[in-house]
Amino acid sequence: MKAAVDERLDGLRGSAPRLTYSARSLAALENNPRCTLRAVLDASGSDKAAIAAHAGFPTPFGQSPFAIARGNVFEALVKANGCAELIRVLRETLKLTLPEVAYQDLNDVGGNASPEVRHSRTRQLLVNTALGKSPGTLYDHPMLRLQVGGHTVFLEPDLVAFRIEDRFHVVEIKSFPIIDGRADAAQVKAATTQASAYVIALRAMLADAGIGPDAVSDTMLLVAPKDFTNSPTAAFVDARKQVATLTRQLTRIEHIGDLVSLLPEDLTFDLAIDKSGRALRPAEELAEALDQVPALYRPDCLSHCEMAFFCRSRARACASLDVLGSAVREQLGGIDTATMALGLARGELTPDADQAEMAAALRHAARLRTEVLGQADGAGATA
């Protein structure tokens, strides 16, 4: 059964190499989890950016070189000299009483940087620490592993897993500022979700060694620049909710078969890329394939999903209320399109039993609007 699903997913992806999940794409699962199109594309490891671009909707995502440079500089600064700055912050800002801290660089193992080698070294060290065989330590770029939908995903906590009061804590180093103890909520949320992927992976690894989930705290440590300076500060962020959500999303991926089995047998998003790297598949055909999978567009997709511009054009084309955002959508529960809403409002459509109440409200609102606008026009005409 499982194999059959994998085959289907491979078929959907076609000839392109499989993209694996990263902490970022796992974290993105939390947004709009009910979108089938995204679920299928992700699970099949398809390249969403390439597909969207080929369908005529290239994604404008990208990070400014300034932001990347700043991120790297800040991370280097925090980690310099065996994380001296980080330790200072933990002691001074968070008032932690830390015994002597050892620092372990896991960026490579004796010059070997393959993920497998690094992962086994990480596991050996962290399990030993958990069992109390070696002292509390900072681990720089440990390599974690998580099974997602039957595929191995390597996760590299952009940072360090750390041990405070006998529990591991995931540390995220981010370059957005914490000004007067406050940081941008959206960015904190993104960082927390990413960290919760690491928490899950860390717990999975320790569970294999028979160590319970309590060994890993679901509070993460956010390290970020303080105010307008370059010197770091830190805060504890509760990631419990996101850990739970992400765990749920991960179990859903296991059930991707249920979604795939609803799709036509021969459906594929293959771009048919030739040797010179050109996509040979006609764009219209690709768009038709994409249209076969139900997508759930929401305006906030625009800020995180590569397919969003494609989905928005589809939503606009059928005058879906999704275009206006969830507030309007909820107000008009049970009605899907602007055409239908206006039809009901003008009495051109007959509402079914579920829509009767909404239709009455719409007709009323429409009448008021015409009344007022009529008056305003009338007043303008006489003036």
């Binding site: 990070q63 991120g71 303080k226 275009v323 206006l342 009344e371």
Partner: protein, 500 residues
């Protein structure tokens, strides 16, 4: 409803009859740009009170602290000149609370493209307000002044109905409904595309262009990553190289290049800002805007006087009492602003009527001569009327009402509301606005057949009393409530910038 029509017709439709925000005859438009990835590092700003005379300020190396504060000083001079030009004339006013006092006759109005622009000014304000003109890292005296004023303006901007600092996208969205989401409406080029697409373009084309940074550079504060990569980063590197070599002529040339580059990015937004201002000017101002402007004048004058008296910079966090006060003020302002809008604007009222928060109908029953005796043994007129409405009213008996169809002081109370088929009969008792006699003044009581609009009275509420700082219970005080001036963080704050 309006959004639906906008979607169908592919153009913006009006959401209100009036413009509910004051638009100054001479607003100061500021388009701030910041550098990606840096904490509130200004990159550039275009500012000015006239479309034809913009002033472009550029920070050649935003990571350099000295250049950053030189920029703050330049912008500070523009802003302070503008603010000072509103501090020339005062006029006596009688205030019920403070007795006779005087107020400035005009208040500043700063317009930025979007909410992000306000955030950029908040960050700039925070960066500047604790700086000092003397001591180890001196800055121009105008810098802390700018910081305090920006912080003050940003705080007023949180309050509904104020007009001293506003995002233009917000003003546009208050009057026009588009067929897109609130998030997309915050893109200035996009919302303008809906309202007034460029010559020869359809709305669909205009909004597609608005999202293409190559056609419409973003209105900031962030620049497009593509622009950063292709143009900005190399240009800044050139500047740094020439600067490091100490080659004065080449440095000046590199700086000029940067200015031109950034100018090209910022100018389209500048033009859009003024186009938006003239669109907004064409919308008639709502009657009650004037009364709200009086409140702006009062708070502007109060802050200005505080500053003249050597005011301290605003603290970083509100204390417990400050926070409670602020919250109560904001909630109050929001309720008042919504009521004002509905009172002035039939479309806003229609919205509230559709939601059952207001109603309108014809007077179908009246008891104009009803008189009751109060507990104090006084005979007062309490006429009752019945209004028949077809609105889905959700107001309960006991709610106090005000009415745009009657003189301002009219007050009424819902006694009962009885659904009757498609309509609802609402029994209303008139309680105020009838004069002092037993016989109501002429025209102060609705008559049979009259059309009445009613909406709930946001009401006069006494200003909540909060404890004084020294009598605050210990549970609500914290050591962080200290004077911000004594904060040791300042020293650390200065370390950044000169290092690179």
């Amino acid at each position: 409803m309006a959004h639906l029509e906008a979607m169908e017709q592919m153009r913006a439709v009006s959401l209100t009859v009036f413009r509910h925000r004051r638009l100054s005859a001479k607003p100061l438009v500021i388009v701030p740009l910041t550098m990606a990835g840096e904490a509130g590092a200004p990159l550039a700003a275009m500012a000015g009170t006239s479309r034809t005379a913009p002033k472009l300020l550029v920070v050649a190396q935003p990571r350099n602290r000295d250049q950053r504060f030189a920029f703050a000083a330049d912008l500070g001079r523009i802003v302070m000149n503008y603010i000072d030009s509103h501090r020339l004339h005062r006029r006596e006013v009688a205030s019920r609370v403070e007795g006779p006092t005087s107020r400035y006759t005009d208040a500043p109005q700063i317009l930025v493209p979007n909410p992000g622009g306000i955030k950029a000014l908040i960050d700039l304000g925070r960066m500047c307000r604790y700086r000092k003109a003397e001591g180890p890292y001196p800055v121009a005296p105008v810098v802390p002044q700018l910081g305090m004023w920006l912080t003050f303006l940003a705080e007023t901007a949180e309050q509904a109905g104020t007009s001293m600092l506003l995002p233009v996208t917000g003003m546009l969205a208050e009057h026009w409904a588009t067929g897109q989401s609130t998030m997309e409406d915050q893109n200035l080029a996009s919302i303008m595309g809906w309202i007034d697409p460029p010559e020869g373009l359809s709305v669909a084309q205009a909004i597609a262009d608005a999202e293409n940074p190559a056609v419409c550079p973003p209105a900031g504060p962030a620049t497009s990553p593509e622009f950063d990569k292709t143009y900005l980063a190399p240009a800044i590197r050139r500047f740094d190289d020439t600067y490091a070599r100490g080659d004065i002529a080449a440095t000046a040339a590199a700086e000029a290049d940067l200015r031109e580059l950034i100018g090209e990015q910022i100018k389209p937004t500048w033009r859009l800002m003024w186009a938006a201002v003239s669109l907004l000017r064409a919308v008639p101002e709502a009657p009650r805007t004037a009364a709200r402007f009086e409140r702006d004048l009062a708070s502007f004058t109060a802050y200005s006087d505080y500053q003249d008296g050597g005011g301290l910079p605003q603290r970083k966090h509100d204390g417990a009492i400050g926070a409670a006060r602020r919250l109560s003020r904001l909630e109050r302002a929001q309720a008042d602003f919504e009521a004002d809008m509905a009172f002035d604007d039939p479309l806003a009222l229609a919205d509230r009527r559709s939601m059952g928060e207001a109603f309108a109908g014809v007077v179908t029953g009246a008891e104009p001569d009803r008189v009751v005796t109060t507990a104090k043994n006084r005979r007062v007129p309490r006429p009752r009327i019945t209004v028949t409405t077809y609105d889905p009213v959700r107001l309960a008996p006991g709610v106090t009402l005000i009415s745009p169809s009657m003189p301002n002081s009219h007050k009424a109370l819902i006694i009962a509301s009885v659904p009757d088929g498609a309509s609802t009969q609402i029994l209303v008792e008139v309680t105020g606005g009838m004069g002092r006699g037993v016989v109501p003044l002429k025209g102060s009581v609705p008559v049979l057949g009259q059309h009445m609009d009613y909406l709930p009275d946001p009401g006069w509420r006494p200003t909540p009393v909060f404890p004084e700082p020294d009598s605050m219970p210990w549970t609500h005080s914290s050591p962080a409530d200290d004077d911000p001036d004594t904060n040791p963080e300042d020293n650390a704050a200065e370390e950044w910038g000169n290092a690179d």
